[in-house]
Symmetry: none
Subunit: 223 residues, 2 copies
């Protein structure tokens, strides 16, 4: 859960970001202009601050400059124009990222997450998650979520699935799978793979469709 400050004079912009952010479990504060944003930033610690450039009383750049005097809070700028000099100017003042209007709320949230993740690199490991429809895979956490429910895979099933997914859309021979998933020192039967593919498929439920058989070759995770 992050503490987010969004400063924009347009209510619509603030609201749409608030909705997205709150849905993701963050706490959102609003400021209607640069001056108010600076005041709020002085009073409390935010995880991230989003500033529109064009604001009454105090514009985004000036607000950024003010805030930087006292805090290192990551700042994202919203700009209506995409002119390059704006960007260069902004980065010199310690802006962490830019979003040019029109933007999608999803994009803003994605950038928020990216920046906070980047800045807290000292702390917890975030863990990369990939998602294919209702199938979510987190490599570092080593878990697989199917339609919201955690799947219960055996170690080999994890290994096999992870290797398939990391090489998605690539045709993998049985030999390659044996070498990479089982190890070069495995001297077993080819058909071992079939059995594990079978069990993996059973565990993936509707998403077994992603694992396609390449007759005479091996398998492929196809998206």
């Amino acid at each position: 859960m992050y503490k987010i400050l969004i400063a924009d004079d347009e209510q619509k912009i603030r609201e749409v970001i608030r909705e997205y952010a709150e849905y993701e479990g963050h706490e959102v504060f609003e400021a209607v202009d640069g001056m108010q944003a600076v005041e709020m930033a002085k009073e409390q610690d935010f995880d991230i601050i989003i500033l529109d450039i064009m604001m009454p009383r105090l514009d985004g750049f000036s607000a950024c400059k003010e805030i930087r005097k006292i805090k290192d809070t990551p700042i994202i700028m919203l700009s209506a124009r995409s002119e390059e000099y704006d960007k260069l100017f902004g980065f010199e003042m310690g802006v962490d990222d830019y979003v040019v209007k029109p933007f999608s709320p999803k994009e803003v949230l994605a950038r928020i997450n990216a920046i906070i993740k980047r800045n807290r690199s000292a702390g917890e490991a975030a863990g990369e998650t990939v998602k294919f429809e209702g199938l979510e895979i987190n490599f570092t956490a080593r878990d697989v979520i199917i339609d919201g429910e955690k799947a219960n895979l055996t170690p080999k099933e994890y290994d096999l699935l992870f290797y398939l997914v990391k090489n998605k859309n690539i045709a993998l021979t049985r030999n390659r799978l044996l070498e990479e998933v089982w190890g070069y020192d495995f001297f077993g039967d080819d058909r071992t793979i079939d059995t594990h593919i079978k069990m993996l498929r059973n565990n993936l439920g509707p998403y077994r469709k992603f694992i396609v058989t390449l007759r005479g070759m091996g398998y492929k995770f196809e998206v």
Copy 2:
């Protein structure tokens, strides 16, 4: 060139978006209600889908939910009035962006471009695809696409086609094909090749023309 689906019961809306989008070189498909949109989304892959919220038979949100079950196509929602922002809970269902009516077609197109660009950058792990007219061949994924539809080839057919294509515009003798595709230890009939060429040609549909017979010699993939 993107493939765009616009679902709205108002013909005017569909038309104005179509005009702009086609002007930018995109391909536009129309649906008059949510139900039709879902059906179309199931049948083909769009680069983006635009859904009006208020539609007969199936509203935009429900349509979005349905589509999300099977596809990750980016979705933009159109809402009739800004008051509807209050009711917007679309982000729960993976809506990528909203546009509030009245909107300018230009704005919609700008958002389409922004979203597709963002989604494209996600980076697909797919090998290089070679394309000859409507015949696409991806060696690493080991698949062959004919006019947008995946072809279903047997192992030998893949091997044979891949060898021909990798040596395109080169005359290949039967002996060479036997050695390279079947293996040096194959002691069968020459004419076996003919049969496989036949089946390959049948599977390539209109693109059988690329495989030319060199009488008294062998075959060639000619482009």
